[in-house]
């Protein structure tokens, strides 16, 4: 294999193809995300949004193509744990928190730093770690619930907790899969605010169906269709594109 291309982009996908039993979930997909950018990715069901996230986080290996992070790391050769350590965090569509752990323990597990099993056998949370936990609890407004087990949280609270876990993980790039699915309008609006807040210090890629939410984010939009990029630009630009209207918005 050739050495990974050096690029100024934070995330660089080029000619990525993934097929499952002959079906091309991603078909020659190319995508660039600049450092500090927030990008919204939209597309009809089966457009390859989740597969793209799987490729970036190491869950799925692409058949072809290059995936480069931070200008040097070839993500196609690393596994999930390596990629997470490099600084890519992922929020799933369905909130996945550790139900049997307390809110605080969920955040503690996500906290950047200690990952090796033999260190954790004797590690007690440091002062700096406790301070950081307090900060995050304040940001996600869950200090009163910190000793509650995550199983008892409402759906919206679980989404918040998961966002808190991503903050604790402190990644360079955050991949967020349908963060407002099942949320009320007010919660959706607040989530957009929080993501914009997070974007001040992290790059973010958001996959979303909800157009009003994408509009509220007000960022560059990439439209996927059948595993490839169909259009890119502001929401108004892509909405005006007749091909986009045909495959997605028109339905």
């Amino acid at each position: 294999m050739s050495a990974p291309r050096s690029t100024s982009a934070l995330l660089y996908l080029s000619g990525v193809t993934v097929s499952f039993d002959g079906f091309k979930a991603l078909n020659n997909l190319s995508l660039l995300v600049e450092p500090g950018e927030m990008r919204a990715i939209i597309g009809p069901n089966g457009a390859g949004k989740t597969t793209m996230m799987d490729v970036v986080t190491g869950k799925t290996r692409p058949d072809e193509g290059e995936v480069v992070f931070d200008g040097q790391a070839d993500l196609t050769r690393l596994d999930e744990a390596d990629i997470a350590t490099l600084g890519i965090g992922r929020k799933f569509q369905k909130p996945t928190v550790f139900e049997n752990h307390t809110v605080r323990d969920n955040l503690l597990l996500a906290l950047a730093g200690q990952r090796s099993w033999y260190r954790l056998l004797t590690a007690a949370p440091t002062r700096a770690e406790n301070d950081r936990l307090e900060e995050i609890l304040a940001v996600i407004r869950m200090r009163p619930q910190q000793h509650m087990s995550a199983a008892r949280l409402s759906h919206g609270q679980k989404q918040w907790l998961e966002i808190g876990m991503l903050l604790a993980q402190d990644p360079k790039l955050l991949l967020v899969d349908e963060p407002v699915a099942g949320m009320t309008d007010v919660e959706t609006e607040t989530t957009a605010q929080v993501l914009r807040e997070i974007n001040k210090s992290h790059s973010v890629v958001v996959v979303e169906h909800d157009m009003s939410f994408v509009r509220a984010l007000g960022v560059k939009v990439t439209v996927l269709h059948e595993g490839s990029m169909l259009a890119e630009g502001t929401l108004d630009q892509v909405s005006a594109d007749p091909r986009v209207v045909e495959v997605y918005l028109g339905r």
Partner: protein, 372 residues
């Protein structure tokens, strides 16, 4: 640092339970040694031997619970680690017989004379000495667990597939140990032990000491398991159980966590097996029978999976029932065991230990409904 590690996870409830286990170890021994045989308080040696066996089973159950209850690995092969530890002890005990066997051969154990062995197989070397056999009791099961776990966890074998692999492992070992050519006694296994550390195995004093050792072992395992479960490692471990892929995406190398508890648990099972053998006086390949491993999982389920106290209670309860039923109504036992499995799954999802919480929750619910 080690003491801090050991105390960090031991909460009040567990501390009391460990004290209880220690008391259950010491008091009967004292009553056995210092009361006359006719006295109402006297504990006979056979009772110590029986309960000592239960304590070894309890340690095995705790080992199973550590991987199944806390890490979600449903092992159906833990009796193999128990039996391997037992065989290491058995080999040491065989060597202690010396020339007192039926054939009186000073070098070869009876079964080797019987099978026309000319010399001692190489892997018997060293087992004359306790200082060699003792580490082997830990090393042999650990190395097997390490090899199996290394490949299985790295290849991300989970769930039912992993259970089947562990079951196949114990079955394969059973077949191997049944062969006379394996050099470990074939289907008769090893028995007629005479001495352990210079003391006669059958003597009452030795039995009392073995019983005490079993209780101390169980208390120590509870302490270690409690420390592990209560540490940050323990939090990560249960998180792996509940949402493995989430842990990977957080940057945890899940294999290391699984491998550590799997190997530790195999070592615990090996030590339990080693203390079991001198108390029952025999080790043979039927200890590897697949059913034994499944029974150990059942003890954990009955007592309460994912608690430290549960497996101990479950192992003692089920085995006490087994002793009673196989004596009183031998043909009923297997049906009772099957029925127990169904009943626990249906009515006691959290085991005997969870029963209290379950009843309390039920009463609260009915109280809330009643005034309306």
């Amino acid at each position: 640092m080690i003491t801090r590690f050991l105390w960090q996870g031991v909460d009040r409830k567990l501390r009391w339970f460990i004290a209880l286990v220690l008391a259950a170890g010491i008091v009967p021994v004292l009553l056995n040694l210092f009361t006359p045989p006719g006295s109402a308080l006297h504990v006979p040696a056979w009772a110590l031997q029986l309960v000592g066996k239960y304590l070894c089973y309890a340690a095995l159950a705790l080992a199973v619970d550590l991987v199944w209850g806390y890490c979600g690995i449903l092992t159906l092969g833990h009796a193999a680690f128990f039996a391997l530890g037992g065989y290491c002890m058995g080999m040491y005990l065989m060597r202690q017989i010396g020339s007192r066997g039926v054939y009186g051969n000073p070098i070869l154990p009876d079964f080797m004379v019987f099978l026309n062995y000319k010399e001692l197989p190489w892997f018997w070397r060293g087992f004359d000495h306790f200082w060699f056999a003792a580490p082997m009791i830990v090393i042999v099961p650990s190395v097997l667990a390490l090899a199996l776990g290394w490949f299985a966890f790295r290849s991300r074998v989970t769930g039912v597939y992993l259970s089947i692999i562990t079951q196949a492992m114990t079955f394969a070992l059973m077949l191997a140990f049944f062969r006379n050519d394996t050099g470990l006694g074939g289907n008769n296994g090893m028995t007629d032990f005479k001495d352990i550390l210079g003391f006669p195995v059958q003597a009452d004093g030795t039995r009392a000491a073995l019983y005490l050792a079993s209780a101390l072992m169980l208390a120590l395992f509870l302490l270690i398991a409690g420390a592990i479960v209560g540490s940050r490692f323990g939090k990560a471990l249960t998180a792996v159980r509940d949402a493995e892929s989430r842990m990977r995406f957080l940057g945890y190398r899940v294999e290391g966590y699984k491998l550590f508890v799997f190997v530790l648990s195999a070592a615990m099972a090996g030590i339990a097996g080693a203390l079991y053998v001198p108390q029952v006086g025999i080790i043979n390949p039927s200890e590897f029978a697949p059913g034994n491993s499944i029974e150990a999982v059942l003890w954990v389920a009955v007592g309460g999976r994912g608690t430290l106290i549960g497996p101990v209670i479950g192992a003692v309860l089920v085995n006490w029932a087994k002793t009673y039923l196989t004596g009183a109504l031998p043909e009923v036992w297997l049906f009772a065991l099957g029925g127990l499995f169904i009943a626990v799954t249906l009515f006691l999802p959290r085991g005997v230990v969870g029963l209290w919480a379950q009843l309390k929750a039920g009463r609260e619910r009915s109280r809330r409904v009643a005034p309306a």
